[in-house]
Amino acid sequence: MASIIQHPPAMSRPANGETLQERSKGRDVRTSNIVAAKAVASAIRTSLGPRGMDKLMQLPSGEVLISNDGATILSRMNVLHPAAKMLVECSVSQDIEAGDGTTSVVVLAGALLDACSGLLAKGIHPAAIASSFYNAAEACTTVLTSRALPVDMNDRESLINAVRTCLSSKVVSQDSDLLAPLAVDSVLGILGPNPGSATNVDLRDIRMVEQLGGTVDDTELVHGLVFDKGSTKTAGGPGKIDNAKIALLQGGGGVGGGIEMENASPRERRNLTTHFNNLTDTLNAHSRFCLSAPKTDMDNSVVVSDYAAMDRILRDERKYILNMCKKIKKCGANVVLIQKSILRDAYNELSLHFLAKMGILVVTDVERTDVEFVCRTLGCTPVPHVDSLSPEKLGSADHVGDVVLPGSGHKVVKFVGVANPGRTMTVLLRGSNDLVLAEANRSIHDAQCVVRSLVKERHLIAGGGAAETEASLRLRELSMETTGMDSHCFRAYADALEVIPYTLAENAGLKPIEIVTELRKAHAEGNVGAGIDVKDGCISDMYAKNVIQPLLVTTSAIKLATETVCMILKVDDLVVVA
């Protein structure tokens, strides 16, 4: 083993178990995998860090995407090579796990692969490299954990700083003064009254509503609910309601309707033809809550045999709808949300007219997928049938009203002062064009993920390449203390970790070699917070500059990158099954 370290360009391979005698095919496959994966890493290298550049992507559909987010770029890039795909997957899992650091994880994996190709060239067995890399990753995590500062979820200031670090590389970075507190508040808002005890948080409880127009700094956080369109005012009707009582009507769910219809015997059908007054009730039993005239099923029809019946149908239709509206009014609701229906009209002009006359604000076409969120926010229960409508099923809000958005003139309905705050949040995003809007959405999501990482793992670590440099330095020290394959691979791993500060410096237009060596020196002198200050182009203390990030982001990046690299290493054959 020692001989390897002493003679690095090992042409003479000692024949013990830790060196590799392999078929040429295995080597070719591995090389091609490494090349392909490295290509992916080098493709998004320039997006790393606050001074990273953007990618412009033209999707097959003609859609244009400008982004700086590693996971977004890679997942849309549609890479063909299987090994490259693994890197893409790795970025996606970092997105799921930590939400941020999706570019770093790929860049790191690329650097590790580079290190591997050097090690492989020396004839070290891939499995040995893999196991050493696992150990190295473990060691890094330990080092980083010991360096990290614990954070209290009530310490809003540090949370905001962490989020600001994340946002600094995004297109919307100039708005981070607004967006960072917004992202923090939105996540803290759904943590409940005791943020200290939460261990995870579901970001789906934060609803992002995109509205074109205005600019990103018009984005606002709403403690309540915003629908992406205005209230329905075809028939006039109020535009705002104070002390709102909200009913959510579930129209046309369609579940179970079919079976009941089959039960309608021929006799029952005959009944339909004669008893108009019963018609509405009978039919209604089969359908969900729809504020529109009842419709017969395909098999059934209402038969009119004299002209007086026509009047009756018309009047019954009006009466039927009026009755439903009256029941809604009677139970105290003054705002009605109607779920989108595909089977039947969830509402018609007549019902809107009645509701308008009763002074009830109507929001139509609520998406089925939004129903749960709406219920959680407003504290209401969806009402599937008019008879099951009761006051306790209503949600409430202090104020519900149409708001005209500056910049576009578009209207949205806003619900503020909801009954049980602390369970859901809404972010109303604005942007001057679709590209900016979509990128702002991704950036805020990343920012929220940062807060979520802190909820999961309450430690902060210095950013700006400080964490990676520290880990690299300690790993190098460790390599001095160990012997064997571990020692050799640790050193390669430590060198690979420096790719992060190197790339940061390069993207910022600084001199990478100078900066990285300076950084190394600072850390060797015990300055654990030293990192690259991209703004001033020098080395400074990242804790003092408030460039901090969640520990989870860095450790998860190291773990994921290592595992992906090890997996790629272990592949020695590529079989294409047609």
């Binding site: 090349v35 392909a36 490295k38 290509a39 080098s42 493709a43 320039t46 997006s47 001074r51 550049m53 990618k55 412009l56 992507m57 033209q58 999707l59 097959p60 244009v64 700086n68 770029i73 890039m77 063909l80 490259a84 297109v171 708005d175 003064d177 600019t215 028939a235 006039g236 419709k295 029809s301 209402v302 038969v303 009119v304 045999s305 004299d306 002209y307 026509m310 009047d311 149908i313 018309l314 009006r318 009026l322 002009e349 007549l350 809107l352 007219h353 009645f354 006359k357 708001v403 005209v404 958005l405 500056p406 910049g407 576009s408 003139g409 590209l435 900016v436 993207n507 910022a508 237009g509």
Partner: protein
């Protein structure tokens, strides 16, 4: 850098990839190509473009946003500029050409800097610094507060805006028209509007000043910090522009407090004119969004009759249902009935007998506006709270008189003396369709400008004055910066001169000399302590005479807000494009 060959990048994707300088050059070239198209249409002596599309439709225009919109640009970077023009059009309404020209000039200079070895990120931060300095300079030095805005200023601003357009020859006439039209729709602003306006007025950072374009959300008033003062808003959507082919453009007119709707009487027997009775009861107008055709039963209702005689009954009943509805409308006092849907010829006779003007297939949006203007409501159904059908007389709008007027080839219904909120209609006349369309666009720009002026009460001199002043100021500012951004800010300062340069070139004047003179005057004004030189910062180009003059005195002015916004938008767009260093196009 890598060639756009997938093999050489080593990236196995199904598509092409370009990186680094190649992309930047490609993007900048595309953006410049777009800007070059609109360049010659800038300014009072700018020329028009004729665009012919694949089915042979012709569009003649001078409006940057309209030209770019019709171009169907495919290059993504160029599309950013097209979007930029669109945004400027939505948010400001005017200055769409200049915003594109400034953005492309910033890009060109940015690209040159990159070639000289300056890192793009430095350029981006330099541009941001320059923008910040420029905006604060405009706010501090260039803005002229016009506390009680006289008509003169409004008319001047409207004139400046339309001077480059097809109606530039008749600016006196059209600027008056625009000002009168905007003033006629004056409304009291609500508290929410005022809040929106305050956000705009105080907007120091990041583009906080924005105004609602179309409808309402913007308030007006002085920039005075009182807030208690009654402010007004001017919803441009209340101004209805109708285009009628024929006669000269000078025959265009404004119907103050009136509304014209592009519809004609449904039957010849109806009167062409109704007016209020002697006792002052207004003419009642019913606006319907429902069908007045023979009533048909809905889906799922079958008519099966055993007795053939019943057929007649059912048919008659179908008619009668509609007839009863019409009777109720007439009984409610309506003398004009407008519907968005159809009216059966049979039903027409009830209207004819009652001497009512009825028009069918009206535009729904028009009816909504008319409802607002006359204080009525659009009626969608006649059902009442008892489940019966009645027509609520409160839904009727009121006006002094309604007349069918024959204009050009078609007829229009003129509604005079509307009783509701302000509304007015401009009827444009012109020799041909292209001209009418272009007049409409030009007038829209001017209306936006007047609205901005009334709402923000501040103006800056036009004709390249603001740009020249900024350029001189930024040059000085750059020398106070000790970092790499200095060079970038200087380039930004030079880039702004593209506006006076292009103006002069389009006017066939000696651009280099004129701009040099302009700059020297501004430099003198800014560096002098003497109060005599104070007015020098308002010096701009006189493109007719080919000299420089005080453009504030000459009445070449534009709203301050539009200048600030166009700078901001242009810089943002340039930065968006400069940030891109990789282009990946995926194959299908």
């Amino acid at each position: 850098m890598s060639a756009p060959n997938p093999a050489s990048t080593g990236l196995f994707i199904n598509g092409q990839r370009e990186t680094g300088q190649d992309v930047r050059v490609g993007n900048v070239t595309a953006a410049l190509a777009v800007a070059n198209i609109v360049k010659t249409s800038l300014g009072p002596v700018g020329l028009d473009k004729m665009l012919v599309d694949d089915i042979g439709d012709v569009l003649i225009t001078n409006d940057g946003a309209t030209i770019l919109k019709s171009l169907e640009v495919e290059h993504p970077a160029a599309r950013v500029l097209v979007d930029l023009a669109k945004l400027q059009d939505q948010e400001v309404g005017d200055g769409t050409t200049s915003v594109v020209i400034i953005a492309s000039e910033l890009l060109r200079r940015g690209n040159d800097l990159v070639k000289n070895g300056i890192h793009p990120t430095t350029i981006i931060s330099g541009y941001r610094m320059a923008l910040k300095a420029a905006v604060s300079y405009i706010k501090k030095e260039m803005v002229v507060n016009v506390s009680e805005l006289g008509d003169d200023h409004l008319i001047n601003a409207a004139k400046t805006s339309m001077s480059s357009k097809i109606i530039g020859k008749e600016t006196d006439f059209f600027s008056r028209l625009a000002v009168d039209a905007v003033k006629s729709v004056k409304m009291n602003a609500t508290a929410a509007d005022v809040a929106g306006y305050d956000a705009m007025g105080s907007g120091g950072g990041g583009g906080a000043e924005r105004l609602a374009e179309s409808a309402s959300a913007t308030a007006a008033g002085g920039t005075t910090a009182g807030g208690t003062k009654q402010r007004y808003k001017y919803p441009l959507s209340a101004i209805h522009i109708l285009k009628a082919h024929g006669k000269s453009s000078m025959e265009s007119n404004l119907i103050d407090g009136g509304f014209a709707i592009n519809a004609m009487r449904a039957a010849q027997g109806m009167p062409t004119f109704v007016e209020m009775s002697m006792d002052g009861t207004p003419v009642k107008i019913a606006m319907l969004d429902m069908n007045l055709q023979r009533h048909r039963m809905g889906m799922g209702v079958q008519v099966i009759v055993k007795d053939p005689a019943e057929i007649e009954n059912i048919k008659r009943r179908e008619m009668d249902i509609t007839k009863e509805r019409i009777r109720k409308i007439i009984d409610a006092g309506a003398r004009v009935v407008l519907t968005t849907k159809g009216v059966d010829d049979l039903c027409m006779k009830y209207f004819v007998e009652a001497g009512i003007i009825c028009a069918r297939r009206c535009n729904r949006e028009d009816l909504k506006r008319l409802a607002k203007a006359t204080g009525g409501r659009v009626v969608t159904t006649m059902a009442d709270m008892e489940g019966n059908e009645t027509f609520d007389a409160e839904c009727l709008g009121g006006c002094d008189s309604v007349r069918e007027v024959r204009i050009g080839d078609g007829e229009m219904l003129y509604v005079y003396g509307c009783r509701g909120h302000g509304a007015s209609t401009i009827v444009l006349r012109g020799a041909n369709e292209y001209m009418l369309d272009e007049m409409d666009r030009a007038l829209h720009d001017s209306l936006c400008v007047v609205k901005r002026m009334l709402e923000s009460n501040t103006l800056v001199p036009g004709g390249g004055a603001a740009e020249a002043a900024l350029s001189v100021y930024l040059d000085d500012y750059a020398t106070t910066i000790e970092t790499r951004e200095q060079m970038v800010i200087q380039e930004y300062a030079d880039a702004l001169l593209v506006i006076p340069k292009t103006l002069a070139v389009n006017a066939a004047k000696d651009a280099s000399e004129l701009v040099a003179r302009l700059r020297s005057v501004h430099a003198k004004g800014q560096h002098s302590e003497d109060m005599v030189d104070y007015g020098l910062k308002f010096m701009g180009l006189d493109l007719i005479e080919g000299t420089i003059r005080d453009n504030l005195a000459a009445g070449v002015v534009e709203p301050a807000i539009s200048k600030i916004k166009s700078l901001r938008f242009a810089t943002e767009a340039a930065i968006t494009i400069l940030r891109i260093d990789d282009r990946i196009s995926l194959n299908k």
